[in-house]
Amino acid sequence: MRILQNVNIDFLTKRKIFYFISVALIVIGFAVLLTNGLTLGIDFKGGNEILLRFQQDVAIQNVRETMSKIGITGAEIKTMGNEREILIRTSEEGEGTVVTDKIKEALKNDNPNNSYEVLRIDKVGPKIGKELRTAAIYATAFSFLAILIYLAFRFEFVYALGSVIALIHDILMTLGMIAIFNLLFPALNLELSQGMVAAFLTLIGFSINDTVVVFDRIRENIKLYKNEDILKVMNRSVNATLSRTVITGGALFFAVLVLFLFGGEVNKSFAFTFLIGMITGTYSSIFVASAFVVDIKKIQQRRRDAAKQHARPAAFTKV
């Protein structure tokens, strides 16, 4: 079986259109992000979270009433997957887990015939949340720096820069998309957690992986087709690696899709983020990283040409 063998699609001539599409999607995503916000998980916000599995279905309204009875207002209460599993999240502060203990006690008293089992209790202090946030930002920044250095060393600085711009594009795009999906499908329970940060860093890994494969072919082809226009060489390289991109991307996509569908609640937001990230990561290798390199190379080419024209040989002429 063969797919996409010997194709010759002109990806890069129309790159301006894709620039526009990317920018537009990111802008829309960020508009949603800024107006609607991204749900910060307990890892980053701090607070208390408790996940209970009741024996029978529970009405969220009843849980809410119980909560207000014990004076905890503004708690976030939602079902997880089914009506029996209830997630309660508060920012109420208290020493140790007094808050969750209070909630547990109250729910036990209010649901005498519907006992529950504690699936998970998390308490994260405000300081820890902040530290995790800082760590996440540092992790991202450092990985960019490390990639920039490594690729500048292995390729050229322009390529390294193109890859990192593609990575920034991927992160912004994925963030925006998550904001949009979060707005449209709240049932996905997408929120910024440690797992999602891991997904972002993994998608950085994947995206750079994909970009490097394309760049590797460009690096090779530039030597082979020395006199060809850079745009042509790059198009040729993207086409040559296209089958691999689709196959690997496809295999990985299915693996992560399985994780998303059956990997349990913990892996859900990780898998979803990564699914989006894979799509934008593959896209950005061609339409951001390669396109950026084409544009810079073109500018460099023009400069060189212009310099050639200006630089006339020194000569005495008769006046």
Binding site: R2, N6, L51, E95, G96, T97, D101, E117, V118, L119, R120, I121, D122, K123, G125, P126, K127, I128, E131, L132, A135, A139, S143, A146, I147, Y150, R154, Q194, G195, V197, A198, L201, T202, I204, G205, F206, I208, N209, D210, V212, E220, T241, R244, I247, T248, A251, L252, F254, A255, V256, V258, L259, F262, G263, G264, V266, N267, F270, A271, F274
Partner: protein
């Protein structure tokens, strides 16, 4: 061929190494299955006795499951520096309290050192640390560094104490680690009684020596409570009422502990009475005497004969007429000493009573009630707790305890605890013991009294010996309690995560299913698309997974839910290398190259792409590992191992197969 032989040897040795490291995991599984099949506890105990060391060894070397997979508790605790400052301060006034509160507020979400901020706040008020801490001659910088090292030291001790306690509690495979300068990470797999564990973890630095209030006075107070609760008139209390006329427990208490003074050189006592004491004693031990005359001469405990009227009441009557004494039963020894006992079932209600405002108003301001630890005997098949009436203001706090050690006194085979106090503490202790001879001093940790020995003599020099524990376990517990006193820093919980066992089970199922499903899908896809070569890549994939698990076991790393995600991801990435190679080979074959050359060139040309892409991914993995916490690190670790293993399996192992085939003269290999 030579090259191939080397590759084959390398592959086989990696394979053997992985199997070697994975064997304990298999062994542990086997043991667990067999243990499960043994129905009764005796059999499994016997089985454990027989194979104990092997079982433990296997358990120690197997791939461990993270808390998110097997359920349990994850707690990060930090030294409550504010509380530490309060404890250490020589005096506390309004300025101190205000400056401290300001500093707490300011450091709530910042990383600044509380001590520094506190000092700044003091300076802003025209004061310095000197006003509250240290000796007169000390300058501020010395005090500051002393305070900071106090924080550092206390976390070290906390690690030790928490470990002691956890071991005592009996959790298998606990992780107790220092993290940073003032944090403590505790992982307790399989623990679900979070409240108990939390108490265990946090019950630090609250060791107090409190004087037990004279039983007659305590009785008077309880009588008031009893009358009040029965709805009676407090003024008309029958003064003639005595201890006798009360409902009593029928349990025969064997309460036998004592404190004596030891001189260091005589830690091994040669002068011990062998008779069981019935009351707790703090006695001074004299080295020159053969027998210790100071030891209490009480005989076996004996419950007062229940001739009294109250005891003859029916239960119902007693409940109404003496609501307090019905719950809090008196037990009296022949020497006149008295203890109060509360049944497990009544304990909560007594606690609630004591919390009531009007009850508290009836209790004198300098008095409080504390429960003892669970007694080692039962009353009518129920657990029972002692209730102590103690002076609210502690005579001494546990900070003065420098060391504590439990031992078996060789002279009489009795469990004893040696307690050593600091020089300042010793002076106070001498004064306290001197002025409270024949009175009881309660050793109270976290509002739970662990022992209340009688002081038999003035103890100078700070070396005491507590004796009369029923067994070495009890002595050990007291040792731990006393050592907790050497830990003046209270800990607070900064983060706590509990995973219930059923969520863990769900996660294992989900993780196992999704890993296998992903593996199956990817493997199937490779075979469908690349045919024979796809199968070869799949074999390499299996090796990859085996290596990852082997390395994981050899690192003694923990498999977490995100770790499983990492495994699935590395399955996906693992095939990428083979896809790159195969696509290249197809290209070369398409260009009309012979099989052997096409394979040669395919591997060669794909290498740079595989190498660079794996290295960049490994770089992000390392950074993820560096900055991530617990579960994320598990993910990053698996991803890194997977990527490194991938460089080997995808390039070397598949190549062996193709090289062997082409060397055998095969010119047709199916690349799909």
């Amino acid at each position: 061929m030579k090259k191939n032989r080397f590759r084959i040897i390398l592959t086989l040795s990696f394979l053997l190494l992985s199997l070697y490291f994975l064997y304990p995991t298999y062994q542990d599984y086997q043991y667990n299955q067999e243990m499960k099949n043994l129905k009764n506890a005796e059999d499994s105990a016997a089985y454990f006795d027989k194979n104990g060391s092997d079982i433990l060894k296997a358990r120690d070397n197997k791939i461990k499951l993270g808390l998110d997979l097997q359920g349990g508790m994850y707690v990060i605790m930090e030294v409550d520096v504010a509380k530490l400052l309060q404890d250490l301060a020589k005096r506390k006034d309004e300025i101190f309290t205000q400056a401290l509160n300001d500093a707490i507020e300011a450091t709530k979400t910042s990383d600044e050192n509380l001590i520094d901020v506190f000092e700044q706040k003091l300076t802003a008020k025209g004061l310095s640390l000197k006003a509250y801490f240290g000796e007169i001659r000390d300058d501020d910088s010395k005090i500051r560094s002393d305070l900071k090292s106090e924080v550092d030291n206390s976390i070290d001790r906390a690690v030790q104490v928490v470990r002691n306690r956890i071991d005592q509690y009996g959790v298998s495979e606990p992780v107790i680690q220092k993290k940073g300068s003032n944090r403590l990470v505790v992982e307790l797999p399989g623990v679900s009684n979070t409240e108990e564990v939390r108490k265990l973890l946090q019950g630090t630095a609250l060791l107090e020596f409190q004087l037990v209030i004279d039983p007659q006075i305590a009785y008077k107070v309880m009588e008031k409570l009893d009358t009040y609760l029965a709805g009676g008139n407090l003024d008309s209390l029958n003064k003639a009422d005595s201890l006798k006329n009360l409902p009593k427990t029928t349990t025969n208490v064997n309460d036998t502990s004592a404190i004596t003074e030891t001189k260091k050189d005589t830690a091994k006592s040669k002068s011990k009475e062998t008779k069981k004491d019935t009351s707790k004693n703090i006695t001074k031990k004299d080295t020159s005497k053969k027998t210790d005359s100071n030891i209490a001469s009480t005989t076996d405990s004996n419950v007062m004969n229940p001739q009294d009227t109250a005891a003859q009441m029916t239960d119902e009557e007693a409940k109404v007429k003496h609501p307090w004494f019905y719950k809090v039963r008196l037990q009296q020894y022949q020497d006149g000493s008295v203890i109060w006992l509360v049944k497990e079932s009544e304990r909560k209600s007594v606690m609630r009573l004591l919390d009531r405002k009007e009850i508290q108003d009836l209790i004198p301001g300098d008095m409080e009630f504390v429960f003892g630890k669970e007694a080692d005997f039962l009353d009518e098949g129920e657990k029972i707790y002692q209730l102590y009436a103690v002076k609210k203001e502690p005579e001494l706090t546990g900070g003065v305890v420098v060391n504590a050690r439990s031992n078996i006194d060789p002279a009489n085979n009795q469990a004893v605890v040696y307690m050593e106090m600091s020089s300042e503490g010793s002076a106070d202790w001498a004064r306290i013991t001197g002025s409270n001879i024949n009175k009881k001093i309660a050793i109270v940790l976290d509002n739970v009294c662990y022992s209340a020995p009688v002081v038999r003599s003035k103890i100078t020099g700070g070396n005491s010996q507590i004796e009369g524990m029923a067994n070495i376990q009890e002595a050990k517990l007291l040792e731990i309690v006393l050592k907790a006193g050497a830990l003046p820093a209270p800990l607070k919980i900064a983060e706590e995560r509990t995973v219930g066992p059923s969520l863990g089970e769900d996660s294992i199922k989900a993780g196992l299913f999704s890993s296998l499903a992903a593996l199956f899908l990817v493997a199937l896809f490779m075979i469908v698309y690349y045919r024979f070569s796809g199968g070869v890549a799949d074999i390499a994939l299996m090796f990859n997974i085996l290596f990852v698990l082997g390395v994981l076991a050899s690192f003694k790393a923990t498999l977490t839910v995100p770790g499983i995600a990492g495994l699935i991801l590395s399955i996906g990435v693992a095939v990428d290398a083979n896809v790159l190679i195969y696509e290249r080979i197809r290209e070369e074959l398409g260009a009309g190259k012979p099989m052997r050359t096409a394979i040669e060139i395919g591997y060669k040309k794909a290498f740079s792409a595989i190498f660079d892409s794996n290295v960049t991914s490994i770089i992000t993995g390392i950074i993820l590992y560096q900055f991530g916490t617990g579960p994320i690190q598990g993910f990053a670790l698996i991803l890194i191992i997977g990527l490194v293993a991938n460089l080997f399996t995808a390039i070397v192992i598949t190549r062996i197969v193709f090289d062997v085939l082409t060397e055998k003269g095969k010119t047709q290999i199916n690349f799909g």
